[in-house]
């Protein structure tokens, strides 16, 4: 399956241990990708019905690829780069995830299990039932051992913090740094490579690399593999930031936790891939259209000879055109199916199904700041209203790109520049 060129040169060959089985992969390739490429689709079982699950978003957002990695539970395997000797196992299954006997729960409750009404007739029955469900449910078991050391916690103050190094964030951070030389501008991103949604497009890795290099030349400090996990508006009274919004952004990095204060925050957090409602839409092998792009264009994996695309007509047509052209160029056939057609079942065993719909704004951090969000399903979900200056309803907190309602990679880039200029004018 790894018979396509990857966007970057593959790392050195390494072997990882998957439930006692040796899997050949390359250093740096995410574990979820390595397993997919060597034919493992089932990465675990769902918490309640023990339905088989596999990767969906390949972007760290859907929580569908959790494995136990090196003795630590519930690790997103699409975010873990392979290295020699890494150990991983599937969770929540008995005796194993391929043949999970607990999936009886799925058959026993074809209409779903309403835990508010089930076994509520007798007190004893209910207590037993709750015990059983608690035993069967949940995710993972405790780590093998406590962490060997406590990660460092440090405080940092900057002038401008841009979250998300996709097209919007790269453009915005560069524009701020160019307009205000000498100011401390950091650009943080959870992935190991900049680019965000560009990484799902043919040529996206190269384009992102060039834009990231331009940002660094302009003076932007780039933090990759850094995850903004929360904004705490009530924290950080001790930190010294002149005119910024109150509070701290908590950022997890390989070195530890950073409590980041900034005079301005700009959220270019992009959007999350969404699934569509059709029967058994959670089966392994059903992945988002952008995950399909990431597999093929970034990692050089041929997911299947044929990809079936289920769409509701709201996906970005420019992205789909680039995806289809890229697949076609690599000899991968595309078959499209409407959401209506998918209601009567879709796909065959082994087929890869890509779900194409509008992604949803990644707007939680704005919510945590207290910014107003409005639901607009046509724009993808809950997005902050922003005016021509890209400022949210909270002073000093800006948003640009897909997080403000789906824009696509090109408009996100041009808007990113405008937002950077507008933000710089407030400093």
């Amino acid at each position: 399956m790894r018979n396509l060129p990857a966007a970057l040169e593959r790392g050195r060959p390494v072997t990882i241990d998957f439930e006692g089985q040796s899997i050949a992969t390359f250093e740096g390739e995410p574990v979820a990708v390595a397993l997919f490429a060597t034919g493992t689709r089932v990465l675990g079982r769902s918490p309640k019905y023990h339905r088989p699950r596999g990767l969906f978003c390949l972007d760290g957002h859907c929580g569908s690829c959790l494995l136990r990695v090196d003795g630590r539970p519930n690790v997103r395997s699409c975010m873990v780069p392979a290295r020699e000797g890494l150990r991983c196992e599937r969770q929540n299954a008995f005796p194993d995830a391929e043949l999970d006997l607990l999936q009886a729960a799925d058959w026993l409750f074809p209409k779903g299990m309403d835990h508010h009404r089930l076994m509520t007739g007798s007190r004893l029955g209910n207590e037993l039932f709750v015990k059983l469900v608690r035993q069967m449910g949940g995710s993972g078991t405790l780590p093998d051992r406590p962490p060997s050391e406590t990660p460092v916690v440090r405080n940092e103050s900057v002038d401008v913090c841009v979250v998300g190094a996709g097209p919007a964030g790269l453009a915005a951070a560069t524009a701020v740094a160019e307009a205000r030389p000498g100011m401390r501008v950091v650009l943080i991103d959870e992935q190991d490579h900049t680019g965000g949604s560009l990484l799902a497009e043919p040529g996206g890795v190269e384009l992102a690399s060039a834009r990231a290099a331009a940002a660094v030349r302009a003076g932007v400090r780039l933090w990759s593999c850094a995850t903004a996990i929360a904004f705490y508006p009530e924290d950080g009274q001790d930190s010294v930031v002149a005119d910024g919004p109150p509070g701290l952004l908590a950022v997890v990095t390989a070195q530890g936790l950073v409590r980041l204060a900034a005079r301005r925050f700009l959220y270019a957090t992009g959007s999350y891939d969404q699934n569509l409602p059709f029967p058994d839409n959670d089966r392994p092998g059903i992945i988002s259209a952008r995950a399909c792009g990431r597999l093929v264009f970034r990692w050089g994996i041929r997911p299947a000879p044929r990809v079936i695309v289920v769409g509701d007509g709201t996906a970005d047509t420019a992205f789909l055109a680039r995806l289809y052209a890229g697949l076609d160029e690599r000899g991968i056939a595309v078959q499209t199916v409407t959401l209506d057609q998918a209601q009567s079942g879709v796909g065959a065993r082994g087929a890869v199904i890509a779900v194409a719909t509008r992604p949803a704004p990644a707007s939680e951090l704005l919510r945590q700041h207290g910014a107003e969000l409005r639901l607009d399903v046509a724009k993808g979900g809950f997005a902050p209203p922003v005016g021509p200056t890209f400022e949210s309803t909270v002073a000093g907190v800006f948003a640009v790109g897909d997080v403000t309602g789906f824009r696509g990679t090109e408009i996100a880039y041009s808007d990113g520049r405008l937002a950077g200029v507008a933000l710089a004018a407030t400093l």
Partner: protein
């Protein structure tokens, strides 16, 4: 596998569960989250909030402007507790 339409994969919440919650009288995302468990798993609503918000609009006849998101709580992604262990006490 029995046929199910899964709206929240983290907590196995089906389209039927959301319909049942709406029939029971819940019409607000915060309530429906507490009743069905959607949005409380590893993804914290990233993959399900929009779809369930759209379903609630359809089931309750509410307009989009009447539907508020549930409170977003830290952390946004599965995070080992060790990262918090070194933070200063207040």
């Amino acid at each position: 596998m029995s046929k199910k339409i899964i709206l929240c994969r983290c907590e196995d919440v089906t389209a039927e569960d959301v319909e049942r919650a709406a029939r029971t009288g819940f019409s607000d995302l915060e309530e429906i989250k507490r009743y069905t468990g959607f949005g409380t798993g590893p993804c914290q609503g990233k993959e399900c909030l929009r779809g369930i918000a759209a379903a609630v609009a359809r089931l309750t006849g509410k307009s989009e402007s009447e539907i508020r998101p549930f409170t977003s709580r830290p952390p946004l992604v599965p995070t080992e507790i060790k990262f918090f262990a070194g933070t200063p006490r207040r």
